[in-house]
């Protein structure tokens, strides 16, 4: 690759990387929030609400992310939802990942042994205290590995936002490629960059996992 070209396009590439990180962070945060809300609403145990949430999860897990993006970005105006490309991208990432996060949180809650909740009740803890101090910490810690995994998947999905013209890294690389006829080099560089990003996040995730679940390993050793 010609270093001059890279130098000339450095500002747009750096801003593209910034947009990628912004979309990833905001989309992931939104997804975690909605996903957690879905899990909590599910636990209320109101049948029609549960069916609606089930349908939401099935739809967002059963259709391609690109299709969901098109529906939000291009189809949105038909139902009065006008969003800019970047906002649509963040909302899309959030809705898409929320369906997966909801399932992750549900599994996390399911993994808390019933005996712990019974024990909390028998020592006189109020239901809300039990949720806050017993169920929730256990459920969240159990969910950490899957959350990290989903965030890694999501970092790769941000590339798809380039198709709806969100000015993230992939979009900037393709613009550069089209303007300078260096498609091959640019995309090769892109592949290396993403691979590094994913590897870094995986390593960081593994360390985070080891930290928050470390006490489990200690308990096992003690037992």
């Amino acid at each position: 690759m010609n270093p001059d070209v890279l130098w000339r396009y450095a500002p747009s590439l750096i801003s593209g990387f910034g947009v990628t990180i912004l979309c990833w962070g905001a989309g992931g945060a939104l997804g975690l929030l909605i996903g957690f809300a879905i899990t909590l609403m599910n636990r209320l145990g109101i049948p029609p609400l549960r069916w609606a949430l089930r349908a939401f999860i099935e739809v967002f897990r059963g259709t391609p992310f690109l299709m969901q993006l098109f529906l939000i970005y291009a189809g949105g105006p038909s139902i009065g939802l006008r969003l800019g490309a970047t906002t649509a991208g963040i909302v899309g990432l959030g809705l898409y990942s929320s369906a997966y996060f909801a399932e992750i949180f549900r599994a996390g809650f399911a993994s808390v042994p019933a005996g712990q909740i019974e024990a909390a009740t028998s020592v006189g803890m109020a239901p809300f205290d039990t949720l806050l101090r017993v169920t929730l910490p256990g459920a969240l810690i159990a969910a950490v590995p899957s959350i990290v995994n989903m965030l890694i998947v999501l970092s790769k999905e941000t590339v798809v936002l380039s198709i709806i013209t969100v000015p993230e890294l992939m979009y900037q690389v393709q613009t550069m490629a089209a303007e300078t006829f260096t498609a091959f080099d640019a995309i090769f560089a892109m592949a290396v960059l993403y691979w590094l990003l994913v590897e870094t996040v995986s390593r960081l995730g593994a360390r985070l996992e080891a930290r928050v679940t470390g006490y489990l390993a200690r308990e096992e050793r003690a037992a």
Partner: protein, 218 residues
């Protein structure tokens, strides 16, 4: 809202859905062949082969599929190979899926109890016979449900091949959107088709899982 748009383009969408299934199926089959080779490399005793297999899995799982697809597309063009877009599309899906399938197969091989191989050796089976008659049949059986799951993931991932111009479900939905000026209906229609296909294969996967569980007496 004009639901007629979906009904009018029903035939068009059905055809596109068939293309989506065909492209994904080709991707999973070629991906299986490559994945089996990668898995064989990863479980081999030769260190360089092991490393090569691990590197393949790391790269093809770590690089986003869209980047891989465009890379293959431009890579072929760079070397003056004028292959049809469908080759780039199926090739991209297969190479990427192979990394995931290799891991599924490796997991399945590891799930066969070690003692069985040892018992077969003790009974005088040769290494090839152990593979052919003991390890492979069981590992393949274990890997059926996750492979069906991988197929469903690939069906969804195949929407990205619309970028290289294959007339599959996503591309056709885009065309309908631009022809009718009804993007909302077009994408809802396309999405419903994806949903229907995925539910069918998910049901098939559930059936396979139950039959296999029944077969192993659990």
């Amino acid at each position: 809202m004009k639901p007629e748009v979906i009904l009018h383009s029903f035939g068009y969408l059905t055809q596109a859905a068939a293309t989506t299934v065909a492209v994904s199926f080709a991707g999973i089959v070629f991906g299986f062949l490559i994945g089996a080779a990668v898995c064989a490399a990863r479980v081999s005793r030769r260190v360089w082969l092991k490393r090569l297999g691990a590197a393949y899995v790391s790269v093809f799982r770590g690089v986003p599929l869209l980047v891989q697809l465009l890379f293959i597309y431009y890579f072929l063009a760079e070397y003056g190979l004028d292959v049809p877009a469908i080759v780039a599309a199926v090739g991209g899906l297969a190479l990427s899926s192979a990394a995931f399938q290799a891991e599924i197969l490796r997991g399945a091989l590891n799930a066969v109890p070690r003692g069985q191989g040892e018992a077969a050796t003790a009974l005088g089976f040769g290494p090839l016979d152990i593979w052919r008659r003991i390890l492979l049949p069981q590992a393949l059986k274990i890997s059926v449900p996750p492979l069906i799951n991988e197929f469903i993931l690939l069906l969804k991932a195949s929407s990205l091949v619309s970028v290289v111009g294959i007339a599959e479900l996503t591309r056709v939905s885009m065309n309908i959107a631009s022809q009718t000026y009804r993007p909302f209906e077009a994408y809802v229609g396309g999405g419903l088709f994806y949903l229907a296909i995925n539910l069918c294969f998910a049901a098939l996967g559930g059936l396979a899982e139950r039959r296999l569980a029944a077969g192993s007496g659990q």
